[in-house]
């Protein structure tokens, strides 16, 4: 039996321990904000936080998350940084199709937690694992700066 803490709530799981965390979140825990995009850690749509670190849940076995704190897009707004990121995304109307944006927001939040005032180059380095086929990248950059500004105000 694997014990998981997702968004502060306990879950037990006795199925296939090699199942990627992504599918536990989506199909078992009913948290569908975290998205499947590639299944190979190539696109970042499945990004969640594991003990505060951004990870690709599509290649993380559910067993590897046992005993750790998992945060998804559904709860990231409860965090000060996550909230600032979501607010910046909304203020600048970053989204288009929206499918990748949960992952973008989780990566951006992780970036701002470790780097309070990222440069464009810092953003490019930290966010280049998150693909957006709508190419909302110009606004992602701007929204991360916006959130950094809010947090330092």
């Amino acid at each position: 039996m694997i014990q998981l803490t997702i968004n502060g709530k306990g879950h037990s799981y006795d199925g296939d321990p090699s199942m990627p965390l992504l599918w536990f979140l989506r199909d078992v825990a009913d948290l569908t904000g975290t998205k499947y995009g590639c299944g190979m850690a190539l696109c970042g749509a499945c990004t969640v936080h594991l003990d505060g670190q951004a990870i690709r849940s599509c290649v993380t076995p559910v067993a590897a998350a046992a005993g750790k704190k998992i945060t998804t897009v559904e709860a990231v707004g409860a965090d000060k940084v996550g909230h600032a990121v979501q607010a910046a995304w909304q203020k600048l109307d970053v989204v288009q199709c929206g499918y990748c944006q949960s992952g973008q927001i989780m990566s951006a939040t992780a970036l701002l937690k470790s780097n309070h005032k990222p440069s464009d180059a810092d953003i490019d380095a930290a966010m280049s694992g998150n693909v957006c086929r709508c190419a909302t990248y110009v606004r992602i950059r701007a929204a991360i700066h916006e959130a950094a500004g809010t947090l330092s105000a």
Partner: protein, 744 residues
């Protein structure tokens, strides 16, 4: 909150048709169960009883909620917001009270007025329905005004409407919700005056927020991938490696041994879609694991087995022979016989996958003699008809619930309904085995990348003649490419005299003043790679060829490429307008700042009309000494008529440029012996944020009718970039993607 959701269509409604509009009163259980409430997934508690439905495009609840019904799919391009803006403007609604839901399949109510079928595509959402949506809002407003006049016994002309509140000169006021029931009893106006654009409050407002900007940032937006229904099984499919192969034998024992796998079914294909095998399971991982455990032997006797090199070789041979003539002005051959200067060039572009972030998927709920489709639905009525035909039921027994699509770029509007029919075939095969539950078919990224219906590969030969003054006097262009239209329901009106209009669009109709033009088209019929429209369709390659060639001509003439174009656009004022605007904003008359030591910098320009929208772009690039390329800055000018949502126009230009840059820099689907060589994002490289240039967008002020912006931002970027590379290095790129051509 800007919640967006669909409402259960099962609730009772009474609608009476009046003069082309419908007047209806909703009674009672206007509450959706969670299974069908989407997108936005706001939950049933947010739904209020609905009182007033003046027409097919708006419902107003007693809680003041204004629900706009969008006949077009929201796939990122902003249609939900745009259509709501138009309606809410004339209704004088409070924008914060406006919600949007996707329309069901109903061609009588929701057809695309430019096509006659219910389809989202061709950048037509605003162009076909701007007046329709404004009239729908104005009619509803007029009914509120007469309801208030009735109730308050005051003349209608003393009543105003501001932000969803109806005011009388006497000082009385009431909200839409308070008046909804009485408004529903008013006669539907036969003709309504529309606002003077000078009085617009929402249309043209630069900072009007998108209607989907909240639910797409907190994980509640619902895509097909997220949809659940009681008892639903997930189907993951195995397709053959080669187009046209079919399963010969299937050993499903290992797949069936996996926990939570419920059944394995074979599904038949057709000339237009795969045959294959599907594993149905209680969760996606089990279905995926089951699929990977299948042992399938394929019959490839009818499969397509050519590779990209063989296809290109065939196209080169075809280009040597006469094609069908798509345009003929003057006598190009005569002018080319005695040129002062001659340019001869070959251009080439590859197959491209749409590769939306949400891989293709579709939910099917079969019933006795009925079927419900839940999908990011881009082509309601053709898909409805195709599903009905496959099941042998009438189209009115096929209902469609439209969810958000996680991108599409054209792929979800498949003229053969390929993935929708595949999902139905799987659900039917399961049904026939006694598994009578909803089925969600999901393609893996690999199936999505290898699933065909690509932007076709193209080959072009061109011969251009310049006179002694450098003027372009002859243009002879021959395009070789598969038709995306032949064999589809669109053939009757998009293929004329054997010429697929999309194959030559952007060149056969180019506006440059050139006295002798001949455009030929050759269309192979032996290539079994399924092809389809891809954001901007034929313009996606023809703009690259046309604007590359014009640049080559300017260089041969020793002229400035901006001035050279401008001089040939005397009869195309809107193209000339955006060209001048972009040159001004990009600082074209000023020298480009040089790069660091060892770096070469260059600036390129391109201008192109597509879907009646005019776009010009200037790209600035840096090439390092190792040959690596960086697109630093793109300046874009767009004329799309009346700007309904300026910020969405800016977003679509930014996105169209990024999408086009993927194709310019990296994008290529290639085949070896009929097998697609790319499977996932490590091989089919998408543009990433570190490659995204600074983008500056300028909208040409205009009172012309609004046109589309979803596609027109894409065509000019590839030529602007290759023209910049030529300016920086002298090297002319005539083949996409650029990939390693600068380092090789």
């Amino acid at each position: 909150m800007n919640q967006i959701f669909l409402v259960n269509e099962s609730r009772r409604r009474f609608i009476q048709g009046v003069g082309g509009l419908a007047l209806g009163i909703y009674v009672g259980d206007a509450f959706a169960d969670k299974g069908t409430a989407a997108p936005g997934n706001g939950g049933a508690d947010l739904l209020a009883p609905v009182n007033f439905e003046p027409n097919a495009f708006v419902r107003i609840g007693s809680d003041n909620t204004v629900t706009v019904i969008s006949k077009h799919l929201e796939m990122g391009q902003g249609t939900f917001t745009g259509l709501a803006t138009l309606l809410a403007e004339e209704l004088d609604a409070d924008w914060t009270q406006v919600r949007v839901e996707g329309a069901p399949a109903d061609v009588a109510k929701y057809k695309n007025l430019m096509m006659g079928i219910q389809l989202t595509g061709g950048s037509t959402a605003m162009a076909n329905s701007h007046e329709q949506m404004r009239k729908a809002g104005a009619a509803a407003r007029a009914m509120f005004v007469s309801a208030a006049a009735d109730e308050w016994k005051v003349p209608a002309n003393t009543i105003t409407v501001v932000n969803g509140v109806v005011h009388a000169k006497s000082g009385r006021k009431a909200t839409f919700g308070q008046l909804a029931e009485r408004a529903a009893k008013q006669p539907v106006p036969q003709d309504v005056a529309l606002k003077d654009p000078k009085t617009f409050k929402l249309i043209g407002q630069p900072k009007l927020h998108r209607k989907d900007h909240v639910d797409k940032t907190n994980g509640t937006a619902m895509f097909t991938q997220d949809y659940k229904a009681p008892g639903m099984l997930v189907a993951v499919v195995a397709h053959p490696q080669r187009f046209g192969a079919v399963p010969k034998s299937v050993d499903a024992a290992k797949a069936k041994a996996i926990a939570n796998v419920v059944e394995v079914v074979q599904f038949g294909g057709s000339a237009h879609r795969f045959a294959g095998v599907a594993v149905l399971a209680k969760n996606t991982w089990a279905a995926r694991s089951g699929r990977d455990a299948l042992e399938i032997e394929w019959d490839e006797s009818q499969a397509f087995k050519l590779g990209s090199a063989e296809i290109l070789a065939q196209y080169k041979e075809m280009a040597k022979k006469d094609g069908l003539v798509a345009r003929k002005d003057g006598d190009a051959a005569a002018a080319l016989a005695k040129p002062a200067k001659l340019i001869e060039a070959e251009y080439e572009t590859p197959y491209l996958s749409h590769s939306a972030m949400e891989p293709l998927n579709c939910v099917v709920k079969l019933g006795e003699g009925a079927c419900e489709i839940v999908n990011g639905e881009q082509m309601h009525t053709p898909d409805q008809g195709a599903v009905a035909a496959l099941l042998g039921i009438s189209p009115d027994k096929v209902s469609i619930t439209q969810l958000y699509a996680g991108g599409s770029f054209g792929r979800r509007a498949n003229p053969q309904a390929d993935y929708v029919l595949e999902a139905v075939a799987i659900a039917k095969a399961a049904w026939d085995k006694g598994i009578k539950v909803p089925v969600k078919m999901v393609w893996t990224r690999e199936e999505d990348t290898r699933g065909g219906y690509y932007r076709p590969a193209t080959f072009h030969t061109a011969r251009l003649a310049l006179d002694g003054g450098g003027q372009l006097v002859a243009w002879h262009h021959h395009t070789v490419t598969q038709s995306i239209i032949k064999g589809t329901a669109f053939e009757a009106f998009m293929v004329k005299d054997g010429i697929d209009a999309t194959s030559v669009e952007g060149v056969a109709d180019m506006a440059y003043e050139i006295p002798n033009v001949k455009v030929e088209l050759s269309t192979p019929d032996n290539i079994g790679v399924p092809v389809q429209w891809w954001r901007s369709v034929g313009h996606s390659y023809n703009a690259f060829v046309k604007e590359g060639l014009i640049d080559e001509a300017a260089a041969a003439a020793g002229k400035d490429p901006y001035e050279y174009r401008r001089a040939m656009l005397g009869k195309a004022p809107r193209l000339k307008g955006v060209l001048e605007l972009v040159a001004d904003k990009a600082g074209w008359s000023q020298p480009l700042k040089p790069g660091a030591a060892g770096e070469k910098r260059g600036r390129g320009i391109a201008v192109h009309e597509s879907f009646n929208t005019y776009v010009a772009q200037v790209a600035e690039v840096t090439i390092k000494s190792d040959g690596s390329l960086k697109v630093d800055r793109v300046v874009c000018a767009v004329d799309c008529g009346l700007a309904i949502n300026p910020d969405i126009i800016v977003a679509q230009m930014q996105g169209g440029i990024g999408f086009g840059l993927t194709a310019a820099l990296h994008g290529a689907i290639t085949l070896d012996g009929g097998v697609v060589q790319q499977s996932n994002f490590h091989q089919y490289l998408p543009l990433r944020i570190n490659e995204m240039p600074v983008v500056e967008v300028f909208i040409m002020p205009s009172a012309e009718k609004p046109t589309g912006v979803g596609e027109p931002g894409t065509p000019p970027i590839a030529p602007a970039v290759v023209n910049a590379i030529a300016a920086a290095t002298g090297k002319r790129i005539r083949k996409l993607p650029i990939a390693d051509q600068l380092t090789a």
